[in-house]
């Protein structure tokens, strides 16, 4: 009896010593095999139990089973330890310099002019305006005569035009001809509520003028439309585009195709309305021209000024973009320096921060 258990003690001591010095998985495997394998020392001892008398067999069986369980647990623990050590050594070898730059995703971006144009389009779409279009090379009738600018009219000088080698055609000097086209398409139906964005041309090139630029034209016709509606609509639009805190004012102006004509100013963004060089110390900058549609223009679109009235407005996308993005040079927008354009990725497309 005594001898048997002291044998177990020696076995355990020897097993534990070997396990402690096992440094890798094969050593563990071989130890497991040596004791617990088919011909392992403990397996053999358990097979030999059969030769013992029943009394001893039961007791000895319990002792050997306990020993076996201890060995399995010890082997499992050691194996997990070695797993962790091995993995640590392996991952240590895979270390990267994580301070190196990341690989940026490849992204593109819409041009700021497209974004500014869509911004105003989206606001006016929500206000119920539908988009209409017309050709960039326009007939003189649509560009001038239909808009109450007959030959010899001083306004033809105001909008110095590019002509082409096709007779009676001109690069449109404004998006206003789309007013006529849209009215004709409506064929007298009411209300008319259209928005016409597009490229226009003036024979002018300096720091504040570019021979090609973009405009957005708006037109509303219905029964009983007045200057009050124009003021309300444009103020709402401009607050939606530029922010609630923007103040507006209206000034009398002149366009051949509207009567009365007004211009709308908004608070100067550069100084917030205090007065600076940008706004010539007035605190205001002009944002758009507008007015009540001239009776002649209504008639040319097929509407009777004694029955309906309407207002129209036009604003420059470049000027709006300069305001939205805080630009001071219009020409940069057409230079397409990609490094310059990359800055616009920070503009989230909502209101300016």
């Amino acid at each position: 009896m005594q001898s048997k258990t002291s044998t177990d003690g020696r076995w355990w001591d020897w097993f534990e010593e070997t396990l402690r010095t096992a440094r890798d998985l094969p050593a563990i495997q071989s130890l497991r095999y040596q004791w617990l394998g088919k011909r392992g020392q403990l397996t053999v001892a358990m097979k030999e139990l059969a030769q013992l008398p029943a009394e001893q067999r039961r007791l000895r069986g319990q002792q050997l089973n306990q020993l076996r369980q201890r060995m399995v647990e010890a082997l499992d623990i050691r194996q997990r330890e070695i797993d962790i050590e091995t993995e640590a050594a392996l991952l240590n070898g895979e270390r990267l310099d994580m301070t190196m730059p990341g690989r940026p995703p490849r992204v593109g971006l819409l041009h700021p002019l497209t974004r500014a144009r869509r911004r105003i389009e989206d606001v006016l779409l929500r206000m119920g305006f539908s988009l209409h279009y017309g050709p960039q090379v326009e007939s003189e009738w649509y560009n001038f005569e239909a808009l109450n600018i007959p030959a010899g009219h001083p306004a033809r000088d105001m909008q110095d035009s590019f002509f082409v080698d096709v007779p009676n055609m001109v690069l449109r000097t404004h998006t206003s001809p789309v007013q006529i086209r849209a009215m004709q398409q409506h064929q007298g139906r009411l209300p008319v509520k259209v928005l016409a964005p597009g490229v226009v041309y003036r024979r002018d090139d300096d720091a504040t003028h570019t021979p090609m630029f973009q405009q957005v034209e708006g037109l509303v016709i219905d029964h009983g439309i007045g200057l009050a509606d124009l003021k309300g609509t444009l103020t709402t639009m401009v607050r939606e585009v530029l922010g609630e805190r923007v103040e507006t004012r209206f000034r009398s102006s002149y366009f051949p195709f509207t009567e009365p004509s007004v211009e709308m100013d908004v608070t100067c963004a550069a100084c917030g309305g205090v007065g600076c060089r940008t706004c010539k110390a007035t605190g205001w900058v002009e944002i758009l021209g507008s007015g009540m549609v001239h009776p002649v223009v209504l008639a040319n679109g097929g509407y009777d000024a004694s029955v309906v009235s309407g207002f129209a407005f036009g604003l420059g996308i470049e000027r709006l973009a300069m305001r939205l993005f805080g630009l001071d040079d219009l020409r940069l927008l057409y230079q397409n320096d990609l490094q310059f354009l990359q800055q616009f990725i920070r503009w989230e497309g909502g209101r300016q921060a």
Binding site: R103, G108, L125, G152, V164, R251, Y334, N336, L338
Partner: protein, 782 residues
């Protein structure tokens, strides 16, 4: 137009501050672009009295003139002037004085004699006066007065920007004063009494009454040696005009004062009677500016017994012009037809002040009244020696009358003002309102109907009094046209695919488009009046515009470029202009030097982007390698693009630029895409999204030896021809070359919606595919 505050105050004696006046002008719709003080320069110029005049000790033609200043100080100034004797009072500019020409006076040494500043001539001070080197002052002002004191202090000058409608009647201090006084409630002096013309027969005849409804002449004589009064010189100077001769200056003054151009002839150089008529064939006239005008019957002229002496309302002739010593004047005051004058102004490019007034339409009442103003001004300042014969032909046209429609005016403004409130505004601005008619003031040729009257009412009360509101109308959602919706989506997709949108101008030139030398088949639309040669046509090709942007960026820095634009190109077909929308994409293919390394740029990136964009849009494109590749493209790395719905319609090209062409734009390897941006012929079918299959996928990789010239496209077509319903995907996963030629590894993915596929079923499909491929000599690599 420049407006003098002092001039305006001649009409409104209690004129408030310039700031307040500017606000009122703004309400009238007059833009005040700038406001500047005038005359500060004259504060330094001081009246002094000569006490001694001695010759310069060392210079023959110089004198030392001792003058007493207002402070009592006597100082000695060197002058070369022949006048300036003891007792004379002269204008002295101390060192620091700025002369009329901008010259700044200093302390100078004249042969050993120091001279602080100068004694001034009228021209140096900026005025004209009686003849003489130095300006001898004969008024009673005290020694020590400054020139600015004499003018009663500095003036303010408003720089006005008049819109064309306002220019019809606001090129007149009187008319501005009239409306400003009305709006602001100021009291105004106004006098429009007609001049009592005589009945002198034989003085003139008017042959073209339609061209000239009213023509008056007054003979008058000036006091010999008369000088334009200083106050008038100051007003003319302040508003940017140069005093010339009293007769001319007074007519100029009256022109701007009440908007009525006048002309002064030298009476000794005209042969009466004067005729107003169209020019006869062959007549010509030497104008004041020295040019000779060959006249036509379109020109209205003033003629004397010998022939034309002036282009009516535009410019006088040189022969009958006022000379420095002219005193016998024949003054013309007329009302010409605006279109007639405008036509001559335009045709002859003579935008004189007179033509710019007459050409826009003048106030006929003023034509009859202006001579009275001339004579009053001349008499008051002692210039007038006498008035001779006078006559006037024609009548002041009747004032126009239009209906008074207060309801229309209220609608146009969106207000609920009473009829009385509406008519009050009109009456204050000079309109007559009687029952249902409005009489238009004689100076308001711009007013035609109720819309114009509505503007007057708005100007009178101010736009701020109209309260904003939103239109009440049937609400309907706004929408974009499908064509534009499509183009916006096209832009969004390319931006999502990693390309930067650019915005180029549509101008180009033959030379610019030759760099790419891409045959578009479009006949260019030429500009008749380009700003410059490089912008002499509208582009026929969008790709060139983008490559120019590429070049611009390359000239600044060497960085990867990937950009696109969706924009119009133009062509002419006979007398028709064709505008079509194109898509162009440009991408640099140079290896990107960066660590950690990214994927190597390849033409397949652009092809993949196009395929992805096309799939999103429902574009059905056929991409093929045609036998003929245009010269601007790499012959081995390009594809023709066609729309399957319109294969003959021309689609576009995708490929690498031929390196030689790329060099023209500072590029090496450049991928380009140029194509029509047509909307898909039929909208994409809106299907139901399929559920994912519950059954497992089976994957087979086939390494195929592909003999020349079989392409991947053919391999894919052959695989597709088997019509296997369970073949879900064919994906190229590798390509390499060995002694067997080119090998492509294709990964086939099989999956069924109905059952778990067996190996045997898949093997049968693979065998079928291999037998199809064998038809073009493609075999499994062993």
């Amino acid at each position: 137009m420049k407006l003098s505050h002092r001039w305006l105050s001649r009409y409104v004696p209690d004129l408030p501050s310039p700031e307040r006046v500017a606000v009122v002008l703004q309400q009238l719709g007059i833009e005040v672009a700038a406001m500047e003080p005038w005359g500060e320069r004259l504060r330094a110029i001081e009246l002094v009295e000569v006490v001694r005049r001695d010759p310069h000790p060392r210079a023959d033609r110089l004198y030392l003139v001792s003058v007493r200043r207002g402070s009592g100080e006597v100082l000695s100034v060197v002058t070369g002037a022949s006048n300036g004797f003891p007792g004379d009072r002269l204008w002295y500019g101390p060192a620091g004085t700025v002369l009329a020409d901008g010259h700044v006076l200093g302390v100078r040494d004249f042969r050993g004699v120091t001279s602080p500043g100068m004694l001034l001539s009228p021209e140096e001070a900026g005025f004209s006066a009686e003849p003489g080197d130095l300006w001898v002052w004969r008024q009673a002002d005290a020694v020590g007065s400054t020139l600015l004191d004499v003018l009663r202090g500095p003036d303010w000058v408003y720089d006005l920007e008049l819109t064309p409608n306002l220019a019809i009647y606001y090129q007149s201090v009187r008319n501005i004063a009239h409306d400003a006084a009305a709006v602001a409630g100021w009291t105004m002096n106004d006098d429009r009494e007609p001049f009592p013309f005589g009945q002198s027969t034989g003085l003139l005849r008017v042959e073209s009454r339609a061209d000239c409804p009213l023509y008056g002449l007054v003979a008058l004589d000036l006091v010999p040696g008369a000088v334009t009064p200083l106050w008038m010189q100051a007003l003319l100077r302040a508003t940017g005009q140069r005093p010339i001769h009293p007769a001319v200056d007074v007519t100029n003054f009256v022109l701007w004062d009440c908007g009525q151009p006048l002309h002064a002839f030298d009476r000794d150089r005209v042969v009466l009677p004067i005729a107003v008529r169209r020019a006869l064939p062959g007549e010509s006239l030497t104008l004041l500016d020295g040019t000779v005008a060959a006249l036509t019957s379109a020109d209205l002229v003033i003629a004397d017994g010998h022939g034309p002496i002036a282009l009516a309302g535009v410019m006088g002739g040189a022969e009958s012009a006022i000379r420095p010593d002219t005193t016998r004047i024949l003054l013309e005051s007329a009302h010409f037809s605006a279109p007639v004058v405008f036509r001559t102004l335009r045709a002859r490019q003579l935008p004189t002040d007179a033509a710019l007034h007459f050409g826009k339409g003048t106030d006929a009442v003023m034509a009859a009244a202006a001579p009275a103003r001339v004579l009053a001004v001349m008499a008051a300042d002692g210039l007038l020696a006498g008035v001779g014969d006078s006559a006037i032909l024609g009548e002041v046209p009747r004032q126009r009358v239009i209906p008074f429609e207060p309801e229309t005016i209220r609608t146009l403004l969106g207000v609920a003002w009473s009829d009385e409130r509406v008519s009050l505004a009109l009456e204050r601005l000079g309109f007559g309102v009687a029952r249902d008619l409005v009489t238009i003031p004689s100076w308001r040729h711009d007013v035609e109907g109720s819309a114009d009257l509505a503007e007057e009412v708005a100007r009178y009360y101010g736009l701020d009094t109209i309260l904003p509101r939103l239109p009440r109308m049937a609400a309907s959602p706004g929408k974009r046209e499908p064509e534009q919706e499509f183009l916006e989506r096209l832009r969004d997709l390319w931006a999502q695919a990693g390309y930067w949108e650019v915005a180029t101008r549509t101008f180009s030139s033959e030379e610019r488009e030759r760099t790419l030398n891409r045959p578009t088949g479009r006949q260019p639309l030429q500009l008749a009046n380009p700003l410059r040669n490089e912008e002499s046509r509208l582009r026929t090709d969008l790709l060139t515009s983008l490559l120019e942007v590429f070049q611009f960026n390359r000239s600044r820095r060497d960085r990867p470029i990937a950009m696109f634009e969706v924009a119009s190109v133009f062509a002419r077909e006979g007398e028709r202009v064709v505008e079509s929308v194109e898509l162009a994409v440009v991408e640099s293919l140079d290896p990107v030097e960066q660590f950690p390394h990214g994927p190597r740029p390849s033409i397949y990136d652009l092809k993949g982007a196009l395929e992805w964009v096309a799939a999103q849009l429902g574009w059905e494109l056929s991409l093929s390698v045609p036998a003929q590749i245009p010269a601007f493209l790499h012959p081995g790395r390009s594809l023709a693009i066609a729309f399957t719905h319109d294969p003959q319609g021309g689609g576009g090209w995708l490929g690498e630029l031929r390196p030689r062409t790329a060099q023209g734009f500072q590029g090496r390897r450049v991928a380009v895409l140029t194509m029509r941006a047509d909307r898909p012929a039929s909208p994409r079918p809106r299907g139901v999204m399929a559920h994912p299959s519950r059954f497992p996928e089976i994957v087979r990789d086939l390494s195929l030896v592909v003999p020349e010239p079989v392409t991947f496209d053919e391999v894919q077509t052959r695989i597709g021809r088997t019509g296997s319903a369970d073949l879900r995907q064919t994906r190229l996963i590798d390509r390499f070359e060995g002694d067997f030629g080119v090998s492509l590894t294709v990964r086939l993915t099989f999956q069924s919606d109905a059952e778990t596929l067996t190996d045997q079923a898949v093997e049968e499909e693979v065998a079928h595919i291999l037998s199809e491929l064998a038809g073009v000599g493609v075999v499994l690599r062993q």
